[in-house]
């Protein structure tokens, strides 16, 4: 409809810059603030574990096995006399690495697949789509268990396993975003002026689909941390004696009559960190897409 006669007061006030960020941390959402603080503490602890840890996480001592919390050992010691608190701090480091690296790798591989499928269409699209659909039917954990059953543990294997579990999700998002971008006139223009396929994708498609992919990657940091813990708990992830929150619980279960503190401490750490990431992720999604409730 024409708006020439529209009174000026009908115009909505323009939104000030950074309003989105300010809303994210507004006083109306105290949970978001607390969650951000927890995430910050988690990252600092992970980075500074060697300086913060009161003991060597691998140092065994048969003189103080299964002790309960004390001033010397805040969360007691395990069946090998190792300091549980220090192991937890190093476990944070382990979790942070997997939480960042695996979604990043999955994002790269998944985006490549999704963009190829969406941009080229045809046989490539049909093959990739069928593959994605089939893999998406598998829960991430189940897929990870199945793949690591074959590959075995070890750092890079676990990174790959988690990445494989996330690839289908990224591929789907990247594919649908690419399909949408492909309709835009600037793509047609780029092709019309003779820009090569790879250059078109690199300069015009990727920048325009990066937002949903990046959001997905951040949402999956928490999932990756959980997944690594689950795999390590099953003995398929980080291998002892390297501490991971998952294998600390595994060790604790094998020593259940000794001390419950490793289980309680590591489980609490996973829960709080995942909870914080989830709250932050929810807040971000609400902000970007207020329609979803």
């Amino acid at each position: 409809m024409s708006s020439a006669l529209e009174p000026a007061q009908d115009l909505a006030p323009e939104e000030p810059r950074f309003a989105a960020l300010r809303r994210l941390f507004s006083r109306e959402r105290p949970a978001t603030l607390v969650a951000s603080a927890v995430v910050l503490v988690f990252v600092v602890v992970a980075l500074a574990a060697p300086w913060l840890a009161p003991h060597d996480p691998l140092a065994q001592s048969y003189l103080r096995i299964n002790t309960y919390p004390s001033a010397e050992h805040w969360l007691g010691t395990d069946q090998f006399g190792r300091d549980v608190f220090s192991r937890l701090l190093y476990g944070a480091r382990n979790s942070l690495i997997f939480g960042l690296v695996s979604p990043a790798i999955a994002a790269v591989v998944g985006t490549t697949l999704g963009v190829a499928a969406g941009y080229f269409g045809g046989v490539i699209d049909r093959t990739v789509s069928r593959l994605i659909d089939t893999l998406l039917a598998f829960p991430e954990l189940l897929l990870a268990i199945m793949v690591s059953a074959v590959l075995g543990g070890g750092f890079w294997n676990v990174v790959m396993v988690i990445a494989v579990a996330f690839v289908p999700g990224f591929a789907r998002v990247a594919r649908s975003a690419t399909l949408a971008v492909k309709q835009e006139p600037y793509i047609e223009a780029a092709v019309a002026v003779g820009l090569g396929t790879m250059k078109t994708i690199w300069r015009h498609v990727l920048p325009n689909i990066s937002a949903p992919v990046v959001v997905l990657a951040t949402l999956w940091v928490a999932s990756a941390i959980r997944l690594e813990a689950s795999l390590s708990f099953l003995g398929l992830g980080t291998q002892p004696p390297n501490p991971s929150w998952g294998n600390i619980i595994r060790d604790g279960l094998g020593n259940i009559f000794g001390s419950p503190w490793p289980i309680i401490g590591a489980g609490f750490a996973i829960t709080v960190v995942v909870l914080a990431f989830n709250i932050l992720g929810d807040a971000m999604r609400d902000l970007l897409d207020p329609e979803i409730q």
């Binding site: 089939t134 074959v150 075995g152 998952g246 996973i270």
Partner: protein
């Protein structure tokens, strides 16, 4: 409707083939030489040859693939390298426990989750809604193996109310054994189904036909249960399939914690012992499970929704 169901069943065939091919690729190609992986670097040449012959690894790849698909579809998983028992027999012994755990946990999750979601949606943005939201946030964050370990420590070890291992004999004993493991898995499920029900119900409560029902003079209970909830259960059905599979993945850790027999327990111990045929059987059974559940969800849709039925 029969034709639709038949069509959907037929559509599952390529999916099964694709899944089996993926498993084949993962098992045979990814880790390098399976014989070396299984037997280790110090195996003798005779041992390696024997293993390759036994597993058919000396055949051309395409034939291997064909033989693999044929064997898996006829449930011929070979024999365990440790106990020499047929793998299909091992699976047969363990599968009922896993199915039992998954179904009881799903039942519990539905029993708590759907009413919770209804409560939250009906009292949107008020105390019950906030309570359900807080519960589901924690349910999403707490790892099931942690919750399972805590329940085991408190209720089985310290209070002695529940057994710490085994699957039980006879119906009631089995229910007694499955209760705590199922409760663990149901916790996460309740959070998921509660949130899903809330979202779906809120959406249907805003639909025009709900307004029509109100305009007819239907009271709130009737509006919610007769009109909105039935429509909201369509997305919940999909969610239920997803959640059934998530529970299946969770059952692996839970079987380990509660020392229950089951496919997860079988698979994990086979991995530790590098019992290749059992690993292969376990992975394929999980894959079949996923395909079957997805099939059942689609079939449920055909039965529930007259619109989909009509497309036939």
């Amino acid at each position: 409707m029969a034709r639709m169901i038949a069509a959907r069943l037929l559509d599952a065939v390529p999916t099964v083939l694709l899944v089996l091919t993926l498993v084949f690729v993962a098992l045979r190609l990814l880790p390098g030489d399976p014989a070396l992986v299984v037997l280790g670097e110090y195996a003798t040449q005779e041992q390696l040859d024997l293993f390759r012959r036994e597993m058919g690894l000396d055949q051309p790849l395409l034939w291997q693939w064909f033989a693999f698909v044929r064997d898996m579809l006829t449930l011929d998983f070979g024999v365990s390298m440790i106990t020499r028992e047929p793998v299909v027999q091992l699976i047969g012994q363990n599968l009922p426990y896993t199915i039992e755990l998954t179904l009881v946990a799903t039942g519990m999750g539905l029993l708590f989750g759907v009413p919770m979601g209804v409560l939250a949606a009906v009292h949107r943005n008020r105390a019950p809604d906030s309570g359900v939201r807080a519960f589901s946030l924690i349910g999403y964050a707490i790892p099931d193996f942690y919750l399972g370990a805590l329940l085991l420590i408190v209720f089985a070890l310290n209070l002695g109310w529940f057994p710490i291992n085994g699957g039980g004999e006879g119906f009631w004993d089995r229910m007694y054994h499955v209760f705590l493991p199922a409760l663990t898995l149901a916790f996460v499920k309740t959070a998921f189904l509660g949130r899903l029900t809330r979202t779906a119900l809120l959406e249907t409560l805003g639909k025009d036909y709900v307004r029509t029902a109100r305009a007819k003079g239907a009271r709130e209970n009737r509006v919610v249960y007769r009109h909105a909830l039935r429509n909201a259960l369509l997305p919940v059905t999909t969610g239920l399939g997803l959640s059934l599979l998530a529970t299946l993945s969770g059952s692996v850790a839970i079987e380990l914690i509660f020392n229950r027999p089951g496919i997860g327990e079988l698979l994990i111990s086979a991995i530790a012992k590098r019992d290749y045929p059992v690993i292969q059987g376990g992975v394929v059974v999980f894959a079949f499970f996923v395909v079957t559940v997805n099939l059942l969800v689609d079939l449920a849709y055909i039965v529930i929704d007259p619109r989909i039925r009509a497309q036939a």
